[in-house]
């Protein structure tokens, strides 16, 4: 149908989308698992990212750093989930639903009490990221967790590298202050090995 000038025809998007997502899927899943600490939550997270990506497939096809674009979507979604959980009257920890999945998360030689401590630390970090501005929080994650260079972040955001540097430092400071703040350290009952 490209024969008809002025009209844009797109084939069934399924194959196009599958080809687009396949090279990035493992990286997305790994990040989702690191953040959510559970295989079930990680799957939900990547599912949400895929849906959003499909709805913006034309934009995604044209961005230079597709993985960074996808990861940014993932971080935003993770932050949205964190905020929703904060607003929820149900304490997920008490239900056992918010517990790590030992088959998916490496123990890294840690003892059970150290694993609990790490999980609490990661949960607290998730809550802190939910309090920070989404853009700042995802920018910091792309740099500090994903290891994107300043130049890549410049390409992704359009911000100058100087602005990115100062924003990263400011966000790290805010994050550190939040982590020191007892207000976000909710009492958590952590059940290692609990499943959703």
């Amino acid at each position: 149908m490209g024969k008809v000038a002025g009209m844009k025809w797109r084939r069934s998007d399924t194959n196009r989308f599958t080809a687009l997502m396949r090279p990035h899927f493992d990286a997305l899943y790994a990040t989702a698992l690191r953040l959510s600490l559970s295989a079930a939550d990680a799957e939900d997270l990547v599912q949400d990212v895929c849906l959003k990506a499909h709805l913006h497939i034309d934009e995604l096809e044209n961005v230079e750093f597709q993985r960074a674009w996808l990861l940014k979507v993932l971080y935003h979604r993770f932050i949205d989930i964190q905020r929703a959980r904060e607003r929820s009257p149900v304490d997920m920890a008490e239900t056992g639903a918010e517990s790590s999945d030992p088959e998916s998360i490496a123990r890294d030689g840690l003892q059970p009490d150290e694993l609990v401590e790490r999980e609490i630390r990661l949960r607290t970090l998730g809550r802190a990221m939910g309090i920070l501005n989404s853009e700042d929080s995802s920018l910091l994650a792309l740099r500090d967790i994903e290891g994107f260079s300043l130049e890549e972040l410049h390409q992704l955001t359009g911000l100058s590298t100087g602005t990115i540097k100062s924003r990263l430092h400011r966000t790290r400071s805010k994050l550190g202050r939040l982590l020191s703040n007892a207000a976000i350290h909710k009492p958590v009952l952590t059940v290692i090995g609990g499943k959703k």
Binding site: M7, R121, R172
Partner: protein, 211 residues
């Protein structure tokens, strides 16, 4: 050492991979700078996430997620078709409208009653109307005809009122974007006809002036 210098080294400092001399210089600064001390705590937290080894995606997960994505999108398309059929088109005064057709799904060949939808066009801008054609199997050589009436033009076609062409449709959703501009105050109408040896379907879209 200044805050900027600490900021440049802070991820390596958090990871414990900064050379000793630089590490000592950073820590001396941090001891007297609350902002950098907070930033170090933030960097250490991010490093904890980065350093956490995780299992690879399970076999079959990619295919499952792709299938679920397709199903979720199909549900959305069906929902949009329902809204239009139920006459809620007027509420959708957005620049984008999706009209879903189902081809190859009819129990018997023939022309179905045309569905009617509304789309709002403007004299100030070109708006893209998306038409989604949903096919339950590949439909080679499907014939697509567009008839346009009233004060609306398809961008790039001027006053041309009729277009018709054949297309090999794939199974699933096939999307067609039509850029439309109003050239008068009365709006117009578009009739889209899809035909295939198995089935034929008409869709009428009232093109109304926005505002």
């Amino acid at each position: 050492m200044k805050c900027e210098s600490v900021a440049e080294r802070i991820t390596l400092l958090a990871a414990g991979t900064l050379p000793d001399d630089q590490r000592n210089a950073c820590m001396t600064h941090i001891a007297g700078c609350a902002g950098c001390a907070d930033a170090l705590q933030g960097a250490v937290a991010m490093h904890t996430v980065r350093a956490q080894a995780v299992a690879a995606a399970p076999d079959g997960l990619f295919d499952r997620v792709m299938r679920q994505t397709t199903r979720a999108l199909e549900r959305r398309a069906l929902q949009q078709r329902f809204w239009l059929g139920a006459g809620f088109g007027g509420a959708l005064a957005a620049s984008l409208l999706a009209v879903a057709f189902a081809l190859g799904m009819l129990a018997s060949p023939g022309i179905e009653e045309p569905g009617i939808a509304e789309f709002f066009v403007s004299t100030d801008e070109t708006r893209s109307m998306d038409i989604a054609i949903e096919a339950d199997r590949p439909l080679p050589g499907a014939r697509i005809s567009i008839l346009l009436s009233g004060g609306v033009e398809l961008e790039g076609f001027g006053e041309r009122r009729e277009l018709s062409w054949s297309e090999d449709l794939e199974a699933g959703l096939n999307k067609l974007s039509l850029p439309l501009t109003a050239v008068g105050e009365n709006g117009g109408q578009m009739v889209v006809r899809l035909s295939h040896p198995d089935s034929e379907q008409l869709f009428v879209i009232q093109l109304k002036i926005d505002g």
